[in-house]
Symmetry: C2
Subunit: 380 residues, 2 copies
């Protein structure tokens, strides 16, 4: 194998696939990046047990010549060194060549590295995917949907299925649901797909989605998603992003969302978030980061917390409106902060149905987002 | 105690003194910040076993009114909470008041905190300093001198005196020296002081200097330094910065600096640094981060390293000049990288006196800086 490539192109490709490199693995070859040189370009691949990323770099794109003098072949190089070396090389071009013992020469300007490589034939194969279920949505929308749900997945493995985000497609509407059983969040969007296409219970690990969102560009170019029984494949530009799908049945969360509310409060998202963040400064020291919210006779919403060993805090927020019964409720401030940061709306509507029933936070401006938080019982 | 202060002024003052707060201490009151309200302003103080910082905020400065309605008094507040609370308060002004049980009310806008404070009378006193030995130098110069020396102090406590930077003043010239016994760095500068003032063996802990340099502004206003037997006091604006001085005698380092060299090489600092950084990418995996340098018959300087389990690297640098004998020497790349990053000069002059003798790196443009590195013996 031999080729000469623009250093910037190689750096970008390494940065992308590196997100799938196992930092801890019992399979040494997975600490490497597989490089395959074809007649018309090169492919870089990295993989861990959950995700695999493949990036293709064509010889030329538009009027740019990115790669020259390709002799086809392949090698696996230690990703830790490959990335640092290429980033620090002095020239604009890099020449990579491999000998029969997989010793790889990387040269640029007056710098020459010889790295011990591995045989690419020992590298595991990526999943074969039949492209039957395809949907498309803009990259920036997918990125936003991930950001607005993934924070709510369970971080412990008590119920492994809850460490993923559940995807469901029905009538051209994609829904993402995440819950750690103390709070729940859903995000919906219309997407392009075959009219007949529908699925549910596609549960993608939260960690995979966080890595995917780092790879997605911040513009509205369309991303294709292919769903199979145990894999999802995301295609964007020259990148293929594979993630496994979690085994098991996601709980039916539709039933826990209350349909009627006894009180509805409309608040400025920013003002309310500021008050909750301050109230949680002291509460964080306590066990459960509990803050209390109640509607005062003078029409104000009061948020407070009390951590006897440190002190207490009282915040007032002026709501736009309060409809219904008085409210007096306690909850984990972190869940509220997460939810408010994920709401893309100037104002929010909170619906309560009782001191011990889950309450709902929605943007006032649209119906795409719903957060649900379970209150906690306190003695105060 | 009670006063109302501009939130920005209070935040700045907390940020400054927080650098001296003990994160781990057996004296609980030292986790706090002492606030004293005087008739004409307030003083914040924090301290750990090595350094103490005091910041005064006057009631008014120029046409700005910073503090209003002062009732004198004092309290010690937990620094962890105080900083976060003040940073997140909603209003532009903050009112702080303390009751007789040291419970402190911090209010701003619609937010009110009650923090459990401590009695300021239990806070240790700062050292009393007689201002007999005073010198002055520009803040940015002092900051540069610290940056250019402090990296070379010992990080282990085997010889505690080497964890400090040694200061010496003679004939209006201030010298800073740091060494960890494998490399040494010196930085000199002319300063303003009484003609009769001179001192040596003033060894200031490296950690104190790092904190001091965070407090120093990036401009050329004059900083006053007061030296006593066991403390140094730095005065800048309304800040007093105290550090203890290390006990013991700093080794006489002047004798280990070779006066004659057998070979002198002049190189571009940036090009040479790039080559050493790349050569050390693989060497870092080895035990001592060793790279080899030799002068080739074709006039080039070759830098290489070999880490059998990973690979090897060869770099070429074209020197501006090579005078004297051929050189073949091995050294720790980290020491060279540290030295080159601290040289404010486009080109450097390296003087060698033999494969096992210390070598010297100096800027070509001035004489204020000298780095010395001990080579290592290798079998290669």
């Amino acid at each position: 194998m031999k080729f000469t490539i623009q250093r910037e192109q190689l750096t970008n490709a390494i940065n992308i696939v590196s997100k799938a490199v196992s930092s801890r693995t019992t399979i040494p070859i997975l600490t490497g990046i597989k490089i395959v040189a074809h007649e018309d370009g090169i492919t870089l691949t990295a993989s861990d047990s959950d995700i695999s990323i493949e990036q293709y770099v064509p010889m030329e794109s538009g009027e740019h010549q990115w790669i020259e003098d390709i002799t086809p072949g392949s090698v696996v190089l230690p990703s830790k060194f490959l990335g640092e070396i290429v980033r620090k090389l002095p020239g604009e071009q890099v020449t990579i060549s491999v000998n029969e013992r997989f010793i790889t020469t990387i040269s640029s300007g007056r710098s020459e590295f010889n790295l011990n490589g591995m045989n690419a034939e020992d590298y595991p194969c990526l999943p074969q995917i039949e492209e039957d279920k395809i949907l498309s949505l803009p990259s920036d929308l997918l990125k936003t949907m991930i950001r607005q749900t993934v924070f709510a997945v369970a971080t412990t493995e008590t119920r492994p299925i809850l460490t993923g985000v559940m995807w469901e497609l029905r009538d051209g509407q994609l829904s993402l649901v995440a819950t750690d059983s103390h709070r729940l969040t859903t995000r919906k969007a219309s997407v392009e797909s075959a009219a007949s296409l529908s699925f549910d219970n596609v549960v993608i690990p939260g960690k995979s989605l966080i890595e995917l969102s780092k790879v997605l560009p911040d513009d509205d170019q369309l991303v294709d998603l292919v769903i199979t029984d145990n894999q999802i494949l995301v295609k964007i530009n020259y990148i293929l992003f594979y993630s496994r799908i979690l085994d098991g049945t996601y709980p039916d969360t539709s039933r826990i969302i209350p349909q009627n509310t006894k009180t509805e409060i409309i608040l400025s998202t920013k003002e309310f978030l500021g008050a909750i963040e301050r109230a949680s400064l002291l509460a964080r020291e306590g066990k459960n980061n509990i803050v209390r919210l109640f509607t005062r006779p003078d029409g104000m919403v009061e948020i407070s917390s009390n951590t006897p060993e440190v002190g207490k805090v009282t915040e007032e927020v002026a709501p736009s409106s309060v409809d219904g019964e008085d409210v007096k409720i306690s909850f984990n401030a972190k869940y509220m902060i997460d939810a408010l940061r994920a709401v893309d709306s100037e104002n929010i509507r909170i619906g309560f149905t009782g001191a011990m029933s889950p309450f709902i936070i929605r943007p006032t401006e649209h119906d795409w987002i719903l957060h649900l938080i379970l209150p906690v019982r306190t003695n105060q």
